[in-house]
């Protein structure tokens, strides 16, 4: 456990310059919110420090609740989480993107394993990954309609009313 | 033993035609069953090879796009015909060969090579990628085992002083078994036979995990059935040749069955004992070890004969 806390401390020191918020949701986890512009620099800092390895990229759709009457409608957002692991320690870089600005740079130049994860993220959430060299579908069907992103909450299957939580 | 039959029966029923095909199917079953038992499987029923063949014959023949139609249909027929022709010169079931003349050993071996050659051509005739790779491998393998195999069968021929299969057979029956006199030659002949029949571990030309069925990928119905029959006939002819030459000749049907089955048992055991060789490994093995061993055996025989005449 001591080494885990040490590792998290080291990661925190590395990531501090880029962070907009830092918290520890669980003893073995460190979560750092960063701005999309700082993503490459933050990942580069972790890799240069040889801190762990990229374990997963998680997309998280957070559609906005309908605003109350008279209030301005808040914009829906997608969180992109980069999970780095070292031993038992897990560091999460959290980026929040609005639907209209769903663009991130690719980190596959720094961490080559990211390529497949970013590809999946692009297909499933419609997050544009700038610099990702692959085209076409990775896992969806070849005739999948453009602009339909299955893991967004708004997707509930074809030919079905959009309302309701029951998916396809 | 001798048997005189009208020529038309010789060609169509015994020992050519029907008998060859039937015994080919039986030996295919024996081979499959033995391999299965060695691998702890149950294996096919006795009727299975016949059922497979009938099923294939009854199936719709699909002509793939991009093939030369005439060749596509002619090649399987040539393949089976070549194999059946070779059968006329070997002492099947211990009887004298149906046809015999000086130098028929070369003809029989040539006819068997024609079978392999047609399979290679059949693969090259299609535009399927698996077939093309399979055809390349089939022909590559042909060039690697053919010379050592031929050399290993020349050993007994030189010892007997004749290139006529029936006379070598008689010679082998009257003298010490050649497997003892020429053990290296027997080894090369046995492995050569496996290469010729494309049995594991020399089955790179039809390695299903890489190139599906190799040269045969595009064949479905009758063509495939004929090729398979050709292979079965090749199996029995190969077994007959090797056991006639090295296992003390074939004088009667009982001897034939016992000796060829014993050989098949060894073949089946060898098939199960190894992982598949890559085609480059096969070629390397044959040219480095197989050809060299066969030459060594040949030199030993020639030396032995000449020294014998001197003293």
């Amino acid at each position: 456990m001591a080494s885990t806390i040490g590792a998290l401390g080291a990661a925190e020191a590395v990531l501090k310059p880029f962070a907009t918020a830092i918290n520890r949701p669980q003893p073995e986890r460190l979560e750092v919110n960063i701005h999309p512009d700082n993503l490459l620099a933050a990942v580069r800092a972790l890799v240069d420090e040889s801190w762990g390895y990229l374990s997963a990229i998680v997309g998280l759709d957070r559609p906005a609740q309908l605003a109350a009457e008279g209030m301005s409608q808040p914009e829906s957002a997608i969180d992109v989480l980069y999970l780095f692991c070292s031993g038992a320690a897990v560091v999460t870089l959290r980026i929040t993107l609005s639907y209209s600005q769903a663009v991130i740079p690719t980190i596959s130049g720094i961490a080559p394993t990211a390529m497949l994860y970013e590809w999946e993220l692009r297909e499933m959430f419609g997050v544009e990954v700038v610099g990702l060299r692959v085209t076409g579908h990775l896992i969806l069907a070849d005739d999948w309609p453009a602009g339909v992103y299955p893991l967004r909450k708004s997707f509930t299957g074809f030919n079905q009313p959009v309302a309701g939580a029951e998916g396809a | 033993m001798n048997l005189s039959l009208p020529p038309i029966l010789v060609l169509l029923v015994f020992p050519g035609g029907l008998f060859l095909i039937a015994s080919g199917l039986i030996y295919q079953w024996a081979d499959r069953k033995l391999v299965a038992r060695f691998q702890n499987r149950i294996g096919p029923r006795f009727i299975q090879p016949l059922a497979d063949t009938l099923k294939l014959l009854a199936k719709e023949e699909i002509t793939p796009v991009g093939v030369h139609k005439g060749l596509f249909f002619a090649l399987p027929v040539i393949a089976l015909a070549a194999a059946l022709t070779a059968g006329l010169y070997v002492p099947l079931s211990g009887f004298r060969p149906a046809a015999s003349f000086r130098g028929d050993l070369i003809i029989a071996l040539y006819a068997l090579s024609v079978l392999t050659l047609t399979m290679g051509l059949a693969g090259a005739n299609t535009i399927s990628r698996f077939s093309l790779v399979g055809a390349t491998r089939t022909l590559t393998q042909l060039f690697s085992y053919e010379a050592p195999f031929l050399l290993s069968l020349l050993g007994p021929a030189i010892a007997a002083g004749t290139w006529q299969i029936s006379e070598i057979n008689t010679y082998a029956g009257q003298n010490l078994w050649l497997i003892i006199a020429q053990p290296i030659g027997f080894l090369v002949a046995l492995i050569g036979l496996m290469g010729k029949l494309e049995l594991p571990p020399f089955d790179a030309p039809e390695a299903e995990t890489e190139i599906v069925a190799g040269a045969m990928t595009e064949y479905s119905g009758r063509g495939f059935a004929l090729f398979r029959l050709g292979k079965d006939v090749e199996l029995i002819i190969g077994l007959t040749l090797v056991s006639a030459f090295y296992l003390g000749g074939l004088g009667n049907p009982l001897e034939f069955v016992l000796k060829t089955l014993a050989l098949l048992l060894v073949l089946a055991l060898l098939q199960t004992a190894f992982a598949r060789l890559r085609i480059d490994q096969t070629v390397g093995l044959w040219w480095r070890a197989g050809a060299l061993l066969a030459v060594v055996q040949l030199i030993a025989i020639v030396l032995g004969r000449n020294l014998g005449t001197i003293f």
């Binding site: 885990t4 949701p25 669980q26 073995e28 390895y53 990229l54 374990s55 997963a56 998680v58 998280l60 759709d61 989480l81 999970l83 692991c85 031993g87 038992a88 897990v90 080559p112 394993t113 497949l116 499933m124 085209t135 990775l138 896992i139 969806l140 069907a141 299955p150 893991l151 997707f155 299957g157 074809f158 030919n159 939580a165 029951e166 998916g167 396809a168 | 060695f38 691998q39 702890n40 499987r41 990628r129 698996f130 790779v133 594991p200 571990p201 790179a204 390695a207 299903e208 995990t209 890489e210 190139i211 599906v212 190894f274 992982a275 598949r276 060789l277 890559r278 085609i279 480059d280 490994q281």
Partner: protein
């Protein structure tokens, strides 16, 4: 990853005898030498991550178990660990020990399955038949414990369903003795058979640096000397009480991957015996609330194929907000694509199987529903009529 049209491309898949599950690989060959490779996945995408969002926490347990038939227990374990972490529930030690026991039995079953598949790809069908025959033993043990050979369903949220009675323990001991003896034999075959060594040694060699760079995980990485194993690095369940040793090999080639997996099998056998002899006493289950408090949790376990990561987000309701599954097979693909170049075509099936790919691991997404008027969708009647007309 688009193929150059001037190349001679050998397609492997989606339907191919080398693949037991659908995927598509294209190998560009020059004669027998591979000069390039590409992959296309998703033929059996089932929409499990999306489906999970529409099901309750308990229902999802069964859904997750069905991601993979071979490592079903480990998926369910990763899921329950994540949910229990979010709920703040402490699972009784006996339940955790039984989970670990099942996970290690599953590892034996998976590694023996892999041994057979890999041998088959190399044209060594005898080893394939033998190892699969003996694998039945471990499947029988799993059946005796849980009643099922494949989907054991041992996990519950907050515990396990099945207890290990002393009679069962004796049977498992007996089965393990047999398995250990058989695996010693396989180790001997793998390390001494000349043709087999010829097909595996120095094939697809990956250095430690390359393995780290490409993000290889699990036995594939360990065969290249990367000592990374979640069971040791971040002990979960009772892995701190019944520790395992990390098995590594330095050769980095296919041969090393065989040796590492067989050694891991021995290690699993050893640790199962230890668990059986010193299993903690106590309850099997504890209560888990129907609504899981809001939050996010990451749970990582070591599946037979490598690190399996679950990211679970809850919004405080009866259904999860998001379940992200990062399966081990996905990480190892890049190693295959990069190692393929320069090898022979004949090595490809073995190289592919060398990472022990699990396609159902990769593909988890969507089921298509189209309208009745779609010209591509035919009713059974129409299809039958077409068949009759066609052959008339």
């Amino acid at each position: 990853m688009t193929a150059d049209t001037n190349k001679f491309v050998i397609p492997i898949g989606p339907q191919h005898p080398a693949l037991k599950e659908p995927a598509n690989f294209e190998f560009w060959v020059d004669g027998e030498i591979v000069t390039g490779a590409s992959v296309r996945l998703g033929y059996v995408h089932r929409g499990i991550e999306k489906g999970a969002e529409a099901r309750t926490w308990t229902q999802n347990l069964y859904l997750m178990e069905r991601i993979c038939g071979i490592c079903s227990h480990v998926h369910a374990t990763a899921y329950t660990l994540g949910v229990e972490k979010l709920a703040g529930v402490e699972v009784p030690p006996r339940a955790n020990a039984i989970r670990q026991l099942m996970a290690e039995l599953e590892r034996i079953h998976s590694h023996m399955l892999w041994l057979g598949v890999a041998a088959h790809e190399g044209g060594f069908d005898t080893l394939f038949m033998y190892s699969w025959r003996d694998r039945e033993t471990v499947m029988d043990l799993l059946e005796k414990i849980s009643g099922n050979k494949v989907h054991y369903s041992a996990n519950l949220l907050g515990g396990v369903k099945f207890d290990i009675t002393p009679e069962l323990a004796a049977e498992v001991h007996k089965g393990l003795d047999f398995l250990e003896e058989r695996n010693r034999f396989y180790l001997k075959v793998v390390t001494t058979d000349e043709t087999f060594i010829g097909r595996t040694r120095d094939i697809g060699t990956m250095t430690t640096e390359k393995a780290e760079f490409l993000g290889a995980i699990g036995p594939t990485a360990r065969a290249s000397g990367v000592a990374r194993d979640i069971r040791v690095d971040a002990p979960y369940l009772t892995y701190d009480q019944f520790p395992v040793k990390v098995m590594t090999h330095t050769s980095g080639d296919l041969h090393g991957r065989f040796i590492v997996r067989i050694h891991e099998t021995f290690e699993s056998i050893r640790v199962i015996r230890e668990i059986l002899d010193h299993i903690p006493q106590g309850d099997l289950t504890t209560r888990v609330p129907r609504r899981i408090p809001a939050g996010e949790a990451v749970s990582r376990v070591e599946a037979p194929r490598g690190e399996l990561l679950y990211f679970i987000a809850s919004n405080g309701s009866e259904k999860p907000e998001r379940v992200k599954v990062r399966t081990p097979s996905l990480c190892n693909w890049s190693t295959v694509l990069s190692l393929a170049i320069g090898l022979k075509l004949a090595d490809m099936p073995m190289l592919l199987s060398g990472i022990d790919p699990c396609f159902s691991c990769n593909d988890r997404s969507i089921r298509l529903k189209r309208g009745q008027q779609d010209p591509q969708v035919w009713s059974w009647e129409k299809l039958r009529q077409y068949g009759i007309e066609y052959y008339r």
